[in-house]
């Protein structure tokens, strides 16, 4: 009778349970709660107090509006501050002398480089930095007009064990008459401290100087004062730089490996714990950790931050900085607590990388896996954008550093975060032109606005006005008849003085004649008279129809960041001459449209006159040639896209005519050779060939279709 015993026992238990229930307090309840998973405390929101309405204000209105005020005068306070807040507590207000940059805008911001002494060894990297500054538009050789000073002494490597370590910096800089305790000085540094703990000690007192340093620790970073820069190797290109390696936006965007870590593994020293832990998430399949133990020349000095997601195996991740990972179009997964990211002042890193906490390393795989396809796609493009805008060359790194400081000095004419973080990047957006986003051709879509409905025609006149049948007269009439034309500006570049007003035909739109001072580049000067976003640049002898103008303008409104024009040209690589070639022959593709008749955004006038170096503009003025090629270089460098050619009724004047009239400069072979040279000179300055080929032209929808002419809006274009 085993069963019976069991059941008696069970019955007893039940009785005990009941008894306990009635007298035993909360034992069962607790038990029950445990069994039914009613653990913890139950939702208990903040009470809705009955006397809520009678609670006192946190401060009286009076207290809020009437500030207690201080006895101290603000001027005295500011002076007192600069005495208190210095060295490690430096801020721009206290450690930077704004009066040195007194003059407004671009003109006020000048950088002086100390001459280097004969026996100074300057490393390759530092030489590149100095070259970049020297060639930038901010350089000055006169210390009196300088706002910022850069040392001639190489301070990049401050590791005492390094071969490039420069001793006695302290004594030397103190000897500089302009040192002024480091005020307004900018010090570049890549490596500091020495093995094994790599402190941030530079080995000399930087005083009130701004530090532009790679791998800055947040603890020592003086916010709003120092600049964190990316670490770069001595082989980093001076200019141009490679484009990112992202060439395709594949869907789904996953690659072979989900997560990859490449770097050194130390048994001791900084980051060794994390690195060892990294080894634990290595699974050999989609998460790999590649570590080496070899100590290279300057590899070991830095925190390897390349834990990168979605990295394909064939792309060699041959570097230790995040930037290379960025170039490789994989998304950096940053696990570096306390590291100030490069240019963190202006770049929104959380839109381009996946940040993790070193302490939560083991969560990284699940975090990365949880990232959606859309986000991977967006992150990859954004890392590419950042790479191309700020990291791909020493020039860009140095200029970004200078621009960040300049934005601080002239804070009311500076770029906002949106300008820094969207295409084409902060370096190509000059706040002196405007601080208003809608004034640039790049942000229309992002702001949800469309380009303006009107254009300004700028006619470049070189020959004197002698007869009423001159091409320019016809051109004026044709252009002024366009319903989109708001005004016409004639740029008078002739040797003769401009004719009186009455000589010009009457027109429905205002006409302005300005003096171009006989410079070819004057056609791209940012004339204040240009009020519309679109500019139609014209040569005096251009032959156009009103409907051609209208059609091209409508096309431009769809592509406001590009040049939209009529006659195309092309460039090509000549393997025999090992140089770039230029052709005006009829080809199946083109990379240039002539600005003798082209629409573009007026911002490019500003960029042409202020972003490009004086040397290139001088070249254009000297030869009276190539200004159109330079403009195409500029716009393609900004957009990474080709210009757009639109339909044109007749072939343009630059047709290679068989008999070749001597009077026209473009029939001259000399003229043509100059253009070949120009292409190479420009490519040299940009550091790469920005021009891009295109294979199509845009025609009206019914262009030369077999339908009634009456249906066609642009029938004039089809007349022979």
């Amino acid at each position: 009778m085993q069963a019976r015993k069991k059941y008696v026992l069970l019955g007893l238990c039940a009785c005990c349970w009941l008894v306990l229930f009635y007298w035993g307090g909360g034992v069962q309840l607790r038990l029950l709660r445990l069994l039914t998973r009613h653990r913890g405390e139950v939702v208990r929101p903040w009470p809705n107090w009955t006397d809520r309405a009678f609670l006192p204000r946190y401060a009286h209105l009076d207290e809020l509006q009437t500030d207690p005020g201080t006895a101290e005068s603000p001027r005295q306070r500011r002076q007192a501050w600069s005495a208190i807040y210095k060295d490690s507590r430096c801020r721009m207000e206290t450690c930077f002398d704004f009066t040195r940059c007194r003059r407004r805008g671009r003109e006020g911001f000048r950088v002086y480089i100390y001459p280097s002494e004969k026996n100074d060894r300057v490393s390759e990297s530092y030489r590149k930095i100095l070259t970049s500054i020297g060639e930038s538009r901010y350089y000055t050789s006169d210390p009196r007009e300088a706002c910022l000073f850069v040392l001639g002494i190489d301070t990049l490597d401050r590791d005492q064990l390094s071969g490039q370590f420069v001793p006695n910096v302290d004594e030397r800089i103190r000897g500089y008459p302009l040192w002024n305790d480091g005020r307004n000085h900018l010090i570049f540094n890549l490596y500091s401290g020495t093995w094994p703990n790599y402190t941030e000690d530079l080995g000399f007192n930087i005083g009130q100087a701004i530090l532009a340093k790679a791998s800055l620790n947040t603890e020592h970073f003086r916010p709003g004062f120092d600049v964190s820069i990316p670490l770069f190797s001595k082989d980093h290109p001076q200019k141009g730089g490679e484009r990112g390696w992202l060439v395709r936006n594949t869907i789904p965007p996953r690659r072979k490996y989900l997560l990859m870590f490449k770097g050194k593994r130390y048994l001791t020293g900084i980051g060794s714990d994390t690195r060892n832990a990294l080894h634990h998430i290595h699974n050999g399949k989609d998460i790999v950790s590649l570590t080496t133990c070899r100590h290279g020349k300057d590899w070991e000095k830095h925190k390897d931050l390349v834990l990168s997601g979605s990295l394909s195996p064939e792309e060699s991740l041959d570097s230790f900085i995040c930037a290379t990972c960025v170039q490789a179009a994989c998304i950096p997964v940053l696990l570096s607590n306390g590291w100030e990211l490069p240019f963190s002042d202006v770049i929104q890193w959380n839109q381009a990388v996946i940040e993790g906490d070193e302490r939560l390393l083991l969560q990284v795989p699940s975090t990365v896996r949880a990232v959606g396809n859309e986000r991977v796609l967006a992150l990859r493009q954004r890392t590419q954008m950042l790479w191309e805008a700020y990291f791909s060359s020493v020039d860009k790194i140095v200029l970004t550093t200078l621009e960040i400081i300049k934005d601080r000095v002239f804070s009311h004419i500076s770029r906002n975060k949106y300008m820094w973080n969207s295409l084409p990047g902060g370096l190509l957006v000059l706040p002196e032109y405007s601080t208003h986003l809608a004034h640039f051709p790049f942000y229309y879509l992002g702001l949800g606005v469309s380009p303006g409905q009107e254009f300004t025609a700028v006619i470049h006149a070189v020959s004197p006005l002698v007869s009423q049948s001159q091409p320019i007269m016809k051109l004026l009439q044709v252009v002024s008849k366009s319903k989109y034309c708001s005004q016409i500006i004639i740029l008078w570049n002739s040797e003769k003085p401009p004719p009186s007003r009455s000589k010009w035909p009457p027109m429905p739109v205002p006409l302005t004649v300005t003096d171009g001072r006989r410079k070819t580049t004057s056609r791209f000067l940012p004339h204040v008279a240009i009020e519309t976003e679109a500019v139609l640049s014209l040569d005096e002898d251009t032959v156009l129809l009103t409907s051609e103008v209208n059609f091209a303008f409508l096309v431009w409104r769809s592509f406001p960041e590009r040049i939209v024009g009529y006659p195309p040209r092309s460039h090509f690589w000549d393997p025999l001459k090992r140089a770039w070639g230029y052709t005006s022959k009829w080809t199946n593709d083109y990379s240039i449209v002539l600005t003798g008749a082209a629409f573009y955004h007026r911002y490019y006038h500003y960029l042409f006159s202020h972003y490009l170096p004086q040397s290139l503009r001088t070249l254009v003025d000297r030869t009276s040639n190539c200004e159109d090629i330079l403009m195409n270089f500029l716009v393609s460098a900004v957009t990474h896209l080709p210009p757009i050619k639109v339909a044109q009724r007749k072939q343009y004047k630059e047709l290679p005519s068989p008999q070749g009239t001597k009077s026209v400069p473009w029939a001259n072979p000399e003229h043509f050779n100059q253009r070949q040279e120009c292409v190479n000179t420009f490519a040299n300055w940009f550091g790469y060939m920005p021009l891009v080929h295109s294979q199509f032209r845009l025609d009206p929808v019914l262009f030369k279709d077999q339908v009634s002419v009456l249906r066609k809006k642009y029938k004039d274009l089809e007349k022979a």
Partner: protein, 745 residues
């Protein structure tokens, strides 16, 4: 033991509480019964069986009865509690602080999230949301019974806490919380006894050196030197403070918050259209340092009426009335209404950096001109203040007028709109301030799920009209990978084979994918298919749906997809290749052959579909179009509303839906390539007859109207251009052209 239910009761209704209990009890019992019962009962004699079943029933009934018993009286009790819940602040339990109770250390300026914050408490969570616990209200008094704060819980702090407790961040479970908010009100340092407040903080049960604790403070510092951060020692606690300077603000750790202006709750200022205002610059603060006031007076002398310098009204006594009035030379103005009359409003620092006036100014849609050196602007970690304000160094006060005059009008208007938006979203109430603060901290802890710049900074009107193309990087993909042609077919095998043969002549074709949409019939045998030089795959679908054509099949390995109908045989190889070349230059657009247009029908007051020969194009038919594979993914998984089902139900308009989708996300028009053709194959007149049918056109018009209403806008863009080869129809030898065979029928 009844506590559980009581607590729950406050959240939910009483009945719910009981029923959940009953359910759990009976579940427990039945679980036991079923696990033991079947194994034992068959072996027992009937007599015993009855006995035991009775016993079990008794036990079961007993349990239910006890359950009822346990609850019945308590539910009466908790009903009494219910009224107790409508408690007064004064009922908060009293806590006496011993004089010797420990004082926390002063905050460490080196604190950062990775050094002073315990992330393990937040952990990994699929929602990426931190959990916030609020301590119950207690009233702290010192040994003599004097409270630690002169005001106790303020209305603003109470609003803040109840807003947080209503938000998604809130948890009542102290063990699961990642962030702790003390109920000790430290918004205004003036009303605090610093040492005692610090002791009270240290008394909190989970204080643990202030780890993961968040304090809200708006008025820091006290006379004479007014520190820019709360003076209460607080160990490692995070501080959400109004009026931080760059020296006290721990970047990435503290949160800079606005100084709340109670006026915004009292006064309603309707939003004003951005535009020029009566005054150019307005200064409305009452306690400006005389040095600065002199400077402002000088500016006014120079620039006259454009400036309005207001001050306190001397004839009004202190109090609420005085706070709502401002005077200039005896003339009285209403505050804050007067702020709406000016384009720019000066916000000067006082003893403190953070000024409540900033909130008033933003509310009025006036662009703040902030003169407070080293001030960390509210929420500056996420808000782009350059788009809503002008920050001028104090030194340059005298240049203010020229600086402001140099700002373009359109930008001033945008700033006015932006200022108002900042106020509405982040300044308007204690709730907005509290939730924004928590969101910022949340973004730091889960940076991979952080809100974007656009989400934080774009006002709704911009969010609505702007587009962020998913393929924004200007890339011209290489030619080499080619494209994958996707042919949707039902059973027109003969025509299909002709299409396949035609397409296979295109040099850049990488793969051909036939989507076999006929479930009743198998595709022809392999041997019957035309022999072509590229891989050919047949995908059989489960249902005859039009959306099958846009499924992101794994077989599509290229970025470019050519969608083509099984009756499009009139496109030449040159035309297709050229289409692919054009697509490479516009990888984010639809690049197709036949173009269509949508028109607004003024008579009917709705959209109309147009397939006539028009000068404009706003759609391209996907019967022959190139597009990025990403759009397949979007079409299948991200199509808004019920459009996908509508398309499948009507067996029509999938192409219009695709045009809407692409235009909506990129903001760009499609590209029509090559001249117009009569897209008609001789054999399939019946089908064409259908597509020319009037009813068909009506249905397509309906589609446009339906989609426009689902998208809430008309995303399609009208253009007047199409793409042709550079030398198309030019007087040039045909054999030298890359694409000679274009436009031939």
């Amino acid at each position: 033991e009844s506590q559980t239910c009581q607590k729950r009761r406050r959240m939910t209704s009483g009945n719910h509480c009981k029923s959940s209990w009953d359910a759990s009890v009976s579940m427990y019992a039945t679980g036991k019964y079923s696990s033991r019962g079947p194994a034992l009962i068959p072996r027992m004699k009937t007599k015993h069986r009855i006995y035991y079943i009775t016993l079990f029933s008794v036990v079961l009934l007993g349990l239910i009865a006890t359950g009822m018993f346990q609850f019945w009286p308590h539910s009466i009790e908790s009903a009494a509690d219910w009224s107790l819940d409508k408690r007064s602040v004064h009922d908060a339990p009293l806590v006496r602080l011993p004089v010797s109770s420990p004082i926390p250390e002063r905050g460490d300026l080196g604190c950062r999230m990775h050094t002073c914050f315990d992330v393990y408490r937040c952990g990994y969570n699929p929602k990426n949301r931190i959990k916030v616990y609020i301590y119950p209200l207690q009233k702290f008094v010192d040994e003599l019974g004097v409270p630690i704060s002169s005001t106790g819980l303020s209305r603003e702090y109470n609003d803040l806490l109840s807003a947080i407790s209503d938000s998604d961040f809130y948890t009542d479970d102290v063990t699961r919380a990642c962030l702790f908010i003390p109920s000790i009100d430290v918004l205004n340092q003036n009303s605090l006894r610093i040492r005692e407040t610090a002791q009270a903080l240290a008394m909190l049960p989970r204080w643990d050196k202030g780890m993961n604790h968040l304090l809200f403070n708006m008025l820091p510092g006290g006379p004479p030197d007014y520190n820019t951060a709360l003076d209460v020692p607080r160990d490692r606690a995070l501080l959400a403070g109004g009026g931080f300077s760059t020296w006290t603000y721990r970047q990435g750790y503290d949160v800079s918050i606005p100084v709340y202006s109670p006026l915004s709750a009292d006064v309603e200022l309707p939003e004003r259209q951005p535009g020029p205002r009566r005054y150019f610059i307005l200064s409305s603060q009452t306690a400006i340092h005389r040095e600065y006031r002199a400077e402002l007076e000088r500016l006014k002398e120079e620039n006259g009426e454009a400036l309005l310098l207001l001050d306190k009204c001397s004839n009004l006594s202190q109090g609420a009335a005085a706070a709502r009035k401002r005077c200039y030379k005896g003339q009285v103005y209403d505050y804050p209404q007067i702020l709406q009359e000016s384009s720019f409003c000066v916000v000067l620092r006082g003893a403190r950096l953070g000024q409540a006036a900033l909130s008033d100014v933003l509310q009025a849609g006036c662009v703040p001109v902030i003169l407070a050196d080293s001030y960390i602007l509210p929420f500056s970690e996420v808000l782009d203040w350059k788009r809503a304000s002008v920050v001028i160094p104090e030194e340059k006060l005298s240049e203010m007028y020229t600086i402001l005059k140099s700002i373009p009008h359109r930008q001033v208007e945008e700033m006015q709109r932006q200022a108002r938006w900042f106020w509405e979203a982040y300044f308007s109430s204690m709730k907005a301030i509290g939730v924004t603060t928590l969101q910022i901290i949340n973004d730091r802890i889960y940076p991979y799920a952080a809100r974007t710049y656009e989400q934080w900074n774009n006002p709704p009107v911009v969010k609505w009209s702007s587009v962020n193309s998913p393929l924004f990087l200007p890339l011209i993909p290489p030619r080499a990978p080619g494209f994958t042609a996707v042919v949707l077919t039902y059973d027109r095998v003969e025509s299909l084979f002709r299409v396949i043969t035609e397409i296979s002549k295109v040099p850049s074709l990488a793969k051909l994918l036939v989507v076999w949409n006929n479930q009743n019939k198998s595709p022809p045998e392999e041997s019957l298919w035309p022999k072509i030089g590229v891989p050919l795959k047949v995908v059989r679908t489960k249902e005859n749906k039009l959306s099958n054509r846009f499924f992101p099949y794994d077989e599509i390995e290229t970025e470019a997809v050519l969608a083509i109908d099984d009756d499009i045989i009139m496109l030449t190889s040159d035309e297709l290749q050229f289409g692919y070349e054009v697509w490479r230059e516009f990888p984010d657009r639809l690049v197709g052959y036949p173009g269509r247009l949508h028109l607004w029908d003024h008579e009917m007051g709705k959209w109309k579909y147009e397939s006539e020969w028009t000068n404009e194009v706003s759609m391209v038919l996907t019967g022959a179009a190139f597009y990025h594979k990403y759009f397949n993914y979007l079409y299948t998984y991200k199509m808004p509303g019920d459009i996908k089902n509508w398309v499948d139900a009507h067996m029509n308009c999938e192409d219009i839906a695709m045009n809407f989708l692409v235009a909506n996300i990129t903001g760009k028009a499609p590209i029509k390539v090559t001249p117009r053709k009569k897209f008609k194959c001789p054999e399939c007149t019946a089908i064409d007859g259908l597509s020319l049918d009037q009813t068909h056109m009506v249905e397509r018009s309906e589609c446009i109207n339906k989609f426009a209403s689902v998208f809430g806008t008309m995303p399609l863009k009208v253009v007047e251009h199409r793409a042709d080869p550079v030398l198309y129809k030019d007087d040039f030898p045909e054999k030298l052209k890359s694409f000679p065979n274009i436009g031939s029928l």
